[in-house]
C-alpha cells in the first residue's frame, strides 16, 4: 500500500507537465474566451456603445429583450414540466415493470439527445406545419397551430431535453430496488402512497438534479427553436435567437448582454447541481 501511495503521490516532471498542460488547455479553450465575453459585455467594442453596468442593465430592460427572456422562460418551464412528469412515469415503468418492447423503448429514449437540433426542427416542421406537415392540415382544421407558435417551440425544447430527467432517475431507482416498495404494498399501501412515502424520497435528489439539467438545456436551446419559431421581435424571438439576430444586426452590445445573462444562468445551474450532488455523494 505504501508503495502505491508513493507512486501516486510522487510528483515527477511528467506530473507537472500534465498539470500545466491541462490548465493551459482549459484556459485557452474556455476561460480566456469567457473572460473576453464578460469584458465585452461591460466594455463593448462597438464605437458608440456605452460601457459599464448601467448600460448593461439598460440593454436588458429593452422591451424586446425582456420579451425574449420571458418567452425563453415560458418555453423552458413547460418543457421541463412535461419532461419531469413524463420522465418520472417512464422511468418507473421501465424499472419496475416488465412489458414487451421495454428494451427498445429504453434505447429509444436516449435518442433525442444525439439528434442534431436542426434535424429536430426539420422533423417537427415536416410533421406538424400547416403548409407541408403530415398532420398540419388536420390540426389546422381544428384550430391547432404548432409550427410558428409557442406550442411548437415548447415541443422543440422538450424534444432536445427529453432524456435528461430519465437518465438521472433510472440508476437510482435500480439501486434502491423494490424491497421497501413491496413491503409497503404488502402492508396495504396503495400505489400512490407507496410512491409518495417510499419512492419519491429516495429519488428526490436525482430528480432535482435532472430537473436542473433539463432547465439549463432548455434555456439554451437554439437550433431546433430557430427552425420552428417565427423568429420576430415580440413574436417568437427567444433569448438565443435574439443573440444571433442582434449580433448580425449591428447591435453586438445587446447580443453580448443577453449572452452574459445566459452564461450566468449556466454557471448558476452548475453551482446548484454541485450542491444537489453532495448530499447524494455522502450516502
Amino acid at each position: 500500500m505504501a508503495e502505491v501511495k508513493e507512486i501516486r503521490q510522487h510528483k515527477s516532471a511528467v506530473t507537472y507537465l500534465l498539470r500545466f498542460f491541462v490548465i493551459g488547455y482549459l484556459f485557452v479553450l474556455v476561460v480566456w474566451p469567457l473572460s473576453e465575453v464578460v469584458q465585452r459585455t461591460f466594455a463593448p467594442v462597438e464605437p458608440d456603445a456605452a460601457g459599464g453596468f448601467g448600460a448593461f442593465l439598460e440593454r436588458l430592460q429593452d422591451p424586446s429583450v425582456t420579451y425574449a427572456f420571458g418567452l425563453t422562460i415560458t418555453c423552458a418551464f413547460w418543457a421541463v414540466l412535461i419532461n419531469t412528469v413524463f420522465g418520472l412515469g417512464i422511468s418507473l415503468l421501465l424499472v419496475r415493470y416488465d412489458f414487451p418492447g421495454r428494451r427498445i423503448l429504453s434505447v429509444l429514449i436516449d435518442l433525442p439527445m444525439s439528434v442534431s437540433p436542426v434535424v429536430v426542427g426539420l422533423a417537427l416542421v415536416l410533421a406538424y406545419s400547416s403548409g407541408s406537415g403530415w398532420f398540419g392540415e388536420g390540426l389546422e382544421s381544428v384550430g391547432i397551430f404548432i409550427i410558428g407558435s409557442t406550442p411548437g417551440m415548447v415541443m422543440a425544447t422538450a424534444f432536445v431535453s427529453l432524456p435528461l430527467v430519465i437518465r438521472e432517475i433510472i440508476p437510482v431507482l435500480e439501486e434502491i430496488g423494490t424491497d421497501s416498495e413491496l413491503a409497503a404494498s404488502s402492508l396495504g399501501a396503495n400505489a400512490w402512497q407507496t410512491f409518495r412515502r417510499i419512492t419519491l424520497p429516495s429519488i428526490k435528489w436525482a430528480l432535482a438534479y435532472g430537473v436542473v439539467l433539463s432547465l439549463a438545456r432548455s434555456l439554451g436551446e437554439f437550433g431546433a427553436v430557430k427552425i420552428v419559431s417565427p423568429g420576430a421581435e415580440f413574436r417568437g424571438e427567444t433569448a438565443t435567437l435574439l443573440i444571433q439576430n442582434r449580433y448580425t444586426n449591428y447591435d453586438e452590445s445587446s447580443a453580448y448582454a443577453a449572452a452574459f445573462v445566459l452564461v450566468l444562468a449556466a454557471v448558476l445551474a452548475l453551482v446548484v447541481v454541485t450542491f444537489i450532488r453532495r448530499p447524494e455523494d455522502r450516502t
Binding site: 413524463f86 429504453s106 436516449d110 439528434v115 442534431s116 407541408s132 433569448a239 438565443t240 449572452a259
Partner: protein
C-alpha cells in the same frame, strides 16, 4: 462531484434497466399508453416524417442528393472534423481526467467546474464566446471565422466534457492492488499505465468518444456564427440542412437529416451493447 453536467451514459453509469418484478396493472398500463403516445407525438412521428420526406423521391433522388459533390463535400468535412476532434478528445480528455483524479493542487476544484461550462452554455453563446477571443476583433489577432480551424475549435469546445466525464469515475474506482502488483514487479509508471490502467479505461474512453463524435457530427448552434458556409471549404452537414431548408428543398434537407439520424442511432445502440458487455464482465 463527478459527472456534473456532462451527458452521462457510458458503461460507468447507465445500466439498462433489467426489468422489474411487477406486471402491468390497469393503471400502469394506461400510464404506459399515455407515455408512449406522447413519445410518439414528440419524437417518433416527426422523425418518421423526416424519413418519409427523404424516401418520397425514391432511392435515386436520395442517393443523388447525398452524392451531389457539394453535399458530399459537406458530409466528408463533417465526418473528418468529427473524427479529428474525437481523437484529440480521447487523448486530452483522458489526460484531463487523469490530472483531475490523480494530481492535487490549488484550484483543482475550479478546474472541475470549468470542464462542464461548455456543456452548460447555450450553443449560440458558445459560438459567441469563441468569436470574442478568436473572431474579427480578436485581441490576440487570430481570426477563425470561416476556416476549418474555426470549426475544429468550436467542436473541441462543445465536446470537451464528454470523455473527461466518462473516464473520471472509472479512474476513481480503479483498484490499487493491480497497480501495486505491477509496481512491485518493477514496472515503470508508464508501463503500469499502459498495461494496467489504460485497458480498464478503454470502455469509458470509447463511450465518451462516441458521445462526443455524435455531438460533433450534429453540432449546429456554435457553428452558425463561425462557419462561413462556404461550399467545399467550411460547410458542414447541419448547416447544409439549414441551407436546403432555406432554399426550399425539403427533400434534400431530409436526406442529409436521415444520414445524421442514422449516425445517432448507431452510436446509441453501440453504447447500449458496450455497456451490457461491460456490465456482464464486471
Amino acid at each position: 462531484m463527478t459527472d456534473v453536467l456532462a451527458p452521462p451514459a457510458g458503461p460507468a453509469r447507465t445500466r439498462r434497466p433489467s426489468g422489474g418484478p411487477f406486471r402491468l396493472s390497469t393503471a400502469s398500463g394506461i400510464g404506459l399508453g399515455i407515455g408512449l403516445v406522447w413519445f410518439s407525438i414528440l419524437v417518433l412521428l416527426p422523425l418518421a416524417a423526416v424519413v418519409g420526406a427523404a424516401a418520397a423521391g425514391g432511392w435515386s433522388a436520395f442517393a443523388g442528393t447525398l452524392t451531389d459533390p457539394q453535399t458530399f463535400a459537406a458530409l466528408r468535412l463533417t465526418v473528418v472534423e468529427a473524427v479529428l476532434v474525437t481523437v484529440v478528445n480521447a487523448v486530452i480528455g483522458t489526460v484531463v481526467a487523469w490530472v483531475l483524479v490523480r494530481d492535487d493542487f490549488v484550484g483543482k476544484r475550479l478546474l472541475d467546474v470549468v470542464i462542464d461550462i461548455p456543456f452548460a452554455l447555450p450553443t449560440i453563446v458558445a459560438g459567441l464566446v469563441l468569436l470574442s477571443l478568436y473572431g474579427p476583433d480578436s485581441p490576440v489577432g487570430f481570426n477563425i471565422v470561416n476556416t476549418r480551424t474555426g470549426i475544429f475549435l468550436a467542436l473541441l469546445f462543445v465536446t470537451l466534457p464528454f470523455v473527461v466525464r466518462t473516464v473520471q469515475p472509472v479512474l476513481l474506482e480503479i483498484e490499487v492492488e493491480a497497480e501495486e502488483a505491477a509496481a512491485s514487479l518493477g514496472a515503470s509508471r508508464f508501463t503500469t499505465f499502459r498495461r494496467v490502467i489504460l485497458p480498464s479505461l478503454v470502455p469509458a474512453i470509447t463511450a465518451g468518444s462516441s458521445l462526443g463524435f455524435a455531438r460533433a457530427i450534429s453540432e449546429f448552434g456554435s457553428l452558425v456564427l463561425i462557419s462561413g458556409n462556404t461550399p467545399y471549404r467550411t460547410e458542414v452537414a447541419s448547416l447544409k440542412i439549414l441551407k436546403f431548408l432555406e432554399g426550399d428543398n425539403q427533400a434534400g434537407a431530409a436526406a442529409v437529416a436521415v444520414l445524421l439520424l442514422l449516425v445517432a442511432v448507431v452510436v446509441i445502440v453501440g453504447l447500449d451493447i458496450l455497456s451490457r458487455r461491460v456490465a456482464r464482465r464486471g
